[in-house]
Symmetry: D2
Subunit: 341 residues, 4 copies
């Protein structure tokens, strides 16, 4: 069965594989101290317009999130997330295991707003409860929605007003940035956040994420935190080489465009057929709501995730496109789908 189950089910984009194979026979020093890591870090800093940023290479999202958040927070401080945020429900309590509460707020759009932040601050006035310190957002979000520039600016402003820091989880940053509804550039994100990461695993890397530390206050001793949490890769250059390939000629952004295009193709088809969505389709994840009987048929032909049951009669399925998904794959799915209705 063809799989739309996620965006990390194939090994890597051919350019990434080529870059890795080209490393054969070369020798490097360990733990990210090599020249290739330095070179790629410099390229990334230039690309995002932040020559003073600190760049660190990770090999997965959860370890990036838990290392970053536990590095920033003091023991009594907490991070704010939407209910259903990755750190809330998909990381087995990794943040709490590092000692910190994840304060959650309901958000139908999957996005945080200043109204949410103000409410949290009002509810945590003194030392009898935790101290909110960090705002955690994802772009695109867990339900595929995408931040607009004005929304991010508003978050930046409320963070500044209250001494909060802003962290963007960019596991699906390529898709978020290349959304047709997005007016944000990667330079904007680097200007508006204190720390964010550029996800690779879900957009054609073998595995890898680049963490970008912008706020000087959180840069000190960061490598200690990476090492302590078990995330310091002995072969850091493995990660650097992949991102060199992905940022060559902006391949990273082209792949983001591609996965959004195929998702939009799919969304348009579902709309045409009269089906609705859990949230607006703005990136590479399509959360379509189908009658239960049709959902069952689809599940017998495709590997997709069953997300929830919005009503007794309907099921929400998630179709996730990948860098390797082609327009032909979508066309074929349409035919299959038509035959099932």
């Amino acid at each position: 069965m063809y799989s739309f189950t996620n965006d990390y089910n194939e090994i890597a984009h051919p350019e990434v594989m080529k870059a890795l194979n080209d490393l054969a026979g070369k020798r490097f020093t360990g733990y990210g101290t090599d020249g290739l890591c330095k070179k790629v870090a410099d390229q990334i800093k230039q690309r995002i317009g932040q020559p003073n940023a600190d760049i660190h290479f990770f090999n997965g999202g959860t370890i990036t999130n838990l290392t970053t958040i536990s590095h920033i927070l003091r023991p009594h401080q907490a991070v704010i997330s939407v209910v259903g945020g990755h750190i809330d429900v998909h990381e087995t309590g990794a943040i709490e295991a590092s000692g910190h509460k994840v304060i959650t707020v309901e958000s139908a759009s999957g996005k945080l707003t200043p109204v949410h932040i103000k409410k949290v601050l009002a509810e945590h006035p003194d030392e009898h409860s935790v101290q909110p310190k960090l705002v955690y957002i994802s772009n695109s979000t867990e339900i595929g929605t995408v931040y607009r520039k004005a929304e991010l600016v508003a978050l930046r402003e409320i963070c500044d007003a209250h001494g909060l820091l802003l962290f963007m989880d960019g596991a699906r940053l390529a898709s978020g940035l290349m959304s047709t509804v997005s007016d944000l550039t990667i330079e904007d994100i680097a200007q508006l956040t204190d720390v964010f990461y550029i996800g690779g695993t879900k957009i054609g890397a073998l595995t890898g994420e680049i963490l970008v530390l912008l706020n000087p206050a959180i840069k000190t001793d960061f490598r200690y935190s990476i090492k302590q949490k078990g995330g310091l890769q002995a072969k850091g250059w493995l990660l650097a080489a992949q991102f060199e390939a992905l940022f060559n000629d902006d391949l990273y952004f082209q792949l983001g465009q591609h996965i959004n295009d195929t998702a939009n193709q799919l969304a348009d088809f579902f709309t045409e057929k009269g089906f609705g969505f859990l949230a607006p389709v703005e990136s590479n994840q399509v959360f379509v709501i189908l009658p239960n009987s049709l959902s069952d048929k689809v599940l017998s032909h495709y590997v997709v995730s069953k997300v929830c049951e919005p009503t007794a009669d309907t099921t929400c399925l998630r179709f996730c496109t990948s860098w390797s998904t082609t327009s032909q794959d979508i066309e074929k799915l349409k035919q299959t789908f038509n035959s099932l209705i």
Copy 2:
């Protein structure tokens, strides 16, 4: 100004003070290994009908909660509480600081039910999220409501059905048990929970809580946990002596009756005057809702806690009675109140 702000604003009931003064000149071994601790533990075990229980003495609620919960849970396991439960909002993230998520559910009554537990279990199906393992309840609850026997039996049953453990925070157990609406005895609680505690600090002790471990699976090495968390009192007998006094002739329960009676006097008065409550008055906390202007006047004459603003025009104040609150104190408050309306 007379204070109804809480139930721990005086030193201790005279019988407790007498018991402490009587210790002068006596010598004891340290860390709860003395004969008095053993004697009082035996008395408590007999009183609750659980000769095989393990008894541990603590000097406050938060340290009791965090020690017990972190002792029971493995790193990936979580505790379920109502939103607003003591461990959720009044302990500065103590449970998360010990590594564990507090999974919260909304409950207007302040009480957990099997419906809540089932929902939590359904939302935490596998290793990508934490594993719910412990159910945390308080009796009386944070909003002064009280569990009925049928409710506790129902929680016991769902816990048994799903391998969950049940922990009752008894910081206000005397008040909870002696509620006019309560059909629970302390023996029932000892039969229906895996662990609970008998709070002393809020009912006439200088300071102290007795933790009762009932489930053999959680007894092993418990003293290691008390010591590690900083709660093992060098002078354990200080705590034992107080509870000996409190359980002599069931003084503990008489005081519970007394604080409920004075609270009911107050509640009847407010009802008579036409004011409503945030939650039914079932124990020694009265959460009355007043017009803002009246609330302001009350706050200028009495020390009471401002809890919330249910509407733009109203304020909820908490009046908390104490073992030292007299009927005369209530009558005086009524007079003052009448003069303010």
Copy 3:
């Protein structure tokens, strides 16, 4: 059997008990926000010559140590202690449970020196190992020795040279300061450390320690840490009242003098009898080394701690004097002892 087992086996000095009894009928606000706490904090600040210090009340040593150390350190930082320091072996891994390594160094004197610190710094050069940040010492030490002013100045200097902080555990501070070999005052300690505490539990308090934060960099949000670790006493004034009594007319220091005097009486006697010690007797703990046969006889007449067996034929016993130990108690012990030889 008369007990020399420790210095916290009786309830409290009569002046402390009087102060507590005098609190009856008074009402206070909770969690250390009351006027008595403020008043006593001001007195302490004046007494130690540090008007800008922050004062916090605790009810025991382990909770003071773990709260202070975990508040100060970032996740990758560690604390340095002698092997056998209280945080190393008597607190069930409380510091590690808060996430931090205790780096230990052997020291026959029980004291840390700049040589130890330099060695530790040399062995922890980069992010592959923890970062030493805090120096933990006790005065008097676990083996009863006492810091001289020059030793403390030397520690201060090496700390300053390497950005380390200095924390003195003062569980037995009264005894340490009043040692005949001590040239340190409490004002000196307040000038030379970043944080220290004034122990009460082992010198006549019911229970209690006063933590003094001197370095402004570690003051921020300290009450959050106390609350989170379970150490924020609901009735803070209970602790304040005791220290008011102990610092009235310098009773605290008189008691320190007294326990040292009785210990010295004992030490002189043992010396006279030809027995040696594990460490020089400088405070209220006497670690005498006896032939095994004599040690056994002593243990059948007195409650004292068996510490170690320096050789196959000898045993080290700890005699610890208390505020309630009298010269008569010592004389009686001498007689008994003479009858056993």
Copy 4:
């Protein structure tokens, strides 16, 4: 400069790279639930003679150690290691960060013995100190020595006698097992330990370690721990494919033989030249002791680690051979070295 600095400075053995390249175009389910992970796990279980073992794939040593140790231990329990063990000094306090003390003992051989364990048990008798529960050893050790079967049997016996568990860090297992002095097989290790891992990163894998859980008591919910600590690889099959290649025709063991052979060539040469070693050369690490002047010259021609200065006049250098080190590389080093003497 040619590097003998470590055994993970090249990308991967050609067979491993081939296996990875062969994955192109294939799709897998996530997080180790795919068929390839299952197939390779079965192969490993068969190879080690433990059909009931649980197999988990990791991508590095520190994350494997911290996940395993924190999964096994309850909060008050500790792990025993030699001073200088990887978890003691090379992981930035990762074990302490998960809440557990690493109890260390000095060992000139780099190996733990029953004598060490007994001493630790005697020093940790009750709840005032941590409870030793896990014994951590490495094979080969940090100083390149190798366990004999009798030594491992003796450790197993003392563990059984005291309810301790035994964990072998196998980051350099291939080298350890193929040592000329080793009489252990991988089947022996699987029989004698409760858990061990088969390191890949240091013997030709791109990156990867296979954890083998043997004791049923520690298997439960292990995937929760992997996910929580950030080690659950989205693309588990990446790791499986590498080990399939490494265990095909026992390539893993052949590479272990090869790196030992080249190390022995080097050791023989140094011996011939009259130089001694920090520890017997038993695996792929050669810790040679050279006069300082010669050491300096060597360091200007080769990338090797400076380990310590055994005396004022001598330096210990570590030469580490790799799967890609050839006999020609060694011959060339000999020539260079001869020219420097």
